[in-house]
Amino acid sequence: MVFSSIPFLYYFLPMVLLAYFITPQKGRNAVLLIASLLFYAWGEPVYVLLMLFSILIGYLAGILLEKSMLGNYKFLTPKAVLSGSVFVFAGIFIYFKYTDFFISNFNAVTGLSVPLLHILLPVGISFYTFQIISYLVDVYRKEVPAQKNFISLAAYVAMFPQLIAGPIVRYASVAEQLEKRTCTFIMAESGIYRFVIGLAKKVLLANELGALCEGFRASGDKSVLYYWLYAVAFCLHIYFDFSGYSDMAIGLGRILGFSLPENFNYPYISASITEFWRRWHMSLGSWFRDYLYIPLGGNRVPKVKWYRNIFIVWLFTGLWHGASWNFVIWGLYFGILLVIEKKWLLRILEKAKGVRNCYVLLLLLIGFVMFNASDMSQAMSDIRCLFGMGGIPAVSAEALYYLKSYGVTILVSVIASTPAMALLATGIQQKVNAYPVTSIVWQVTKVMAALALLLLSTAYLVDGSFNPFLYFRF
């Protein structure tokens, strides 16, 4: 089930909220778990068993890990338990996500034709597997005690607001809330606003930009201008698609009494690629930092090893996004850019104020064109065409038409991808708070705006427009 759908918004969500809030505190994790399993099973009824199996293994491994740390088992060291369980999760993850990728590469190298298994990727496996692994590592590091209550752990892993597209929630950050959380009107209000803003970002902007990108792919009238239009549209599309989903997840979390981590912080205003990755998919970045980069030694190692660590992290970041060479190259592309920045460029960029944003946006544009290609040859062809080396005209009728037709959508998206609107809202809030009347007017305006956005998004959904979630495939 997806958040931006009529069944979720007007059937599933109200039922779940009703059941959740009429249930006493101690039963709410069970309600949340049941709701999450239904949410997952709605589109993936078979793979719900795989998720439950993963949770069970994680639950048992956590307890075993804690007991082994107390010296309860002579031959079972904590390291062995952790390694074994991570091995199991990595195995499941690799089997479902990469088997066909390995087979096709094996076939390409050996000339054999081992048949592909065509394994259907379980939705959200990349997110919940990483959450379970982080839980086990945190228990191993004694940062959190093992969760003794299966329902609580299962509610954490399967929590429907973040189950299928993140943010990747660390167990440590919600451990206390799983035991006891308070739902306040202030949290609910901010949760509602956040959810509606996320929904509008997804439905009114991301879906529209996605339709433009789909139209581009199907077009027989491509031109350099059309490639640029597509590249810009895709950069905005993926941002609003993913950050819209994260906003909805965070908003739902707040309504339910959870504080889920932020996942985006206006990444397109970054002054360097290094900064971009501190603002984009922050929960994944911090996961790789804490569970891969730092255990490898981080930057407290000789330079050669430091660079190696960076490349390993970015190789895995690329692979996490998809089992295809263009994702691997995409990851390494950012790895190289980060190394170049760390070694030379950051110092120059600090002084080049006007140019650095253009530099970042251009490199991101190329990166996302690569990201959205079906394979490496299409990625290279797209990049060539982007720079006028594809033997296509500079301008085409279709490009001009869609530029005109999507001009306002793109303009609104560009503005919405900066903190301008949030700063404006904060500024108004501070000013109106000084007087009771203006404060009430502002409050009414916010409520009306939220209802208007909900209504508009619903109208778009009712008309059945383009509505896939990009990050479902990861």
Partner: protein, 362 residues
């Protein structure tokens, strides 16, 4: 009460009202504006659940049965066109008060496919007979409206290619005899009362004279065309009219698909799903019009689409028998079971919309 409490309560109350309407509102069976059946509540079975079919059906049901569906669709269309300044909504654009589908791009494969089907008909039924075979392409509204503001195919190229691919048919270009006002504002079709000059041209090219004076009767029913439903924008309805005279009144019409006599204009169908189906019985595969007072002793066979249905009554005036064959519903391989070709005039009369999407032709 704190501000947050009030805000949450207001939003919750309105949300709950909408949810309750969703849950308890009786389901509609049919959408008049979209001219389609709406999805009904899916039946839960374990198999449909595990296969994911239930999720898809429930999604269709929830979306189709959403309260105030037409108003919601209009809200989306108006916001999209007027606030977000999209040039079209659901590939329909609004210009000079007309709703128009973008016929774009030109599908070469479709042209070739249509030409191959016509060639098959010609080789199987016509080439060894003494028929005279003609071909006219009817431009869709985009031909007049798109200009440089909207995407449209190169119509001159389209006409040239279509006629070039069908050298066995004698072309009768009609686009110069048409203008935008000959078409309905909210529908794809032309108006019968505005195409009498085209009927005269076709008849003349085929060597037949039409008397050509008609009484135009306008029906007192608002005609919301197909684009009205697709675009979901606010638009005034059209008025649907038809041409008649004593000769046409005395014609007999037979529907071979349902094996019954029907009337030239079925006024009851104006109240139905598609008012344009009033012409010659609507989407019927094979119809004949017999005219005891024809101006010639010739017979005519028309291969055509829904545009041709409103043209056939006008042409029927000049022929003793006019047969209308719609190969979207009657595969061309079976035509020989119903029609014997000898010395008739044969007219292929198709709109650019059908020819550019010829997958529907059989």
């Amino acid at each position: 009460m704190s501000n947050s409490k009030v805000s949450v309560c207001v939003v919750t109350i309105l949300y709950v009202v909408l949810v309750l309407i969703c849950l308890f509102r009786p389901a509609d069976e049919f959408s008049a504006s979209e001219r389609r059946k709406l999805a009904q509540k899916p039946q839960f079975t374990w198999e449909s659940f595990t296969s994911g079919k239930l999720a898809g059906e429930a999604e269709s049901y929830a979306t189709d049965q959403f309260p105030f569906r037409d108003a919601m669709r209009s809200l989306k269309a108006e916001f999209s066109l007027n606030i977000m300044k999209k040039a079209d909504t659901n590939d329909i654009f609004v210009k000079d008060g007309y709703l128009c589908a973008m016929e774009y791009p030109m599908e070469e494969d479709s042209i070739i496919r249509a030409a191959k089907i016509f060639e098959g008909i010609y080789e199987k039924y016509l080439q060894d007979s003494e028929v005279n075979a003609y071909f006219s392409v009817i431009p869709d509204k985009s031909y007049f409206l798109a200009g440089k503001d909207y995407l449209s195919m190169d119509y001159e190229l389209f006409f040239a290619e279509m006629y070039e691919q069908t050298p066995f048919l004698m072309p009768i270009p009609i686009e110069k005899n048409l203008q935008l006002s000959d078409y309905y504002r909210t529908d794809t079709h032309w108006k019968q009362e505005e195409i009498t000059d085209v009927a005269h041209l076709l008849a003349k090219e085929m060597g037949v004279q039409l008397a050509g004076s008609y009484e135009v009767k306008t029906l007192d029913v608002p005609f919301y065309g197909v684009y009205y439903g697709q675009a979901a924008v606010a638009a005034e309805p059209d008025a649907i009219s038809y041409c008649t005279n004593d000769v046409l009144d005395n014609c007999t019409v037979f529907d071979y698909e349902n094996n019954k006599a029907i009337s030239l204009y079925d006024i009851e169908k104006v109240k139905g799903r598609d008012p344009y189906e009033m012409f010659l019985g609507g989407n019927i595969s094979l119809v004949t019009v017999t005219n005891p007072a024809a101006t010639s002793d010739k017979e005519l066979v028309v291969f055509g689409d829904s545009f041709a249905r409103s043209m056939v009554p006008l042409l029927a005036e000049g022929y003793t028998k006019t047969t209308m064959i719609d190969i979207r519903y009657l595969p061309s391989a079976y035509i020989g079971n119903y029609v014997t070709f000898s010395s008739q005039d044969v007219l292929f009369l198709y709109s650019t919309s059908v020819l550019n999407n010829s997958i529907t032709l059989k």
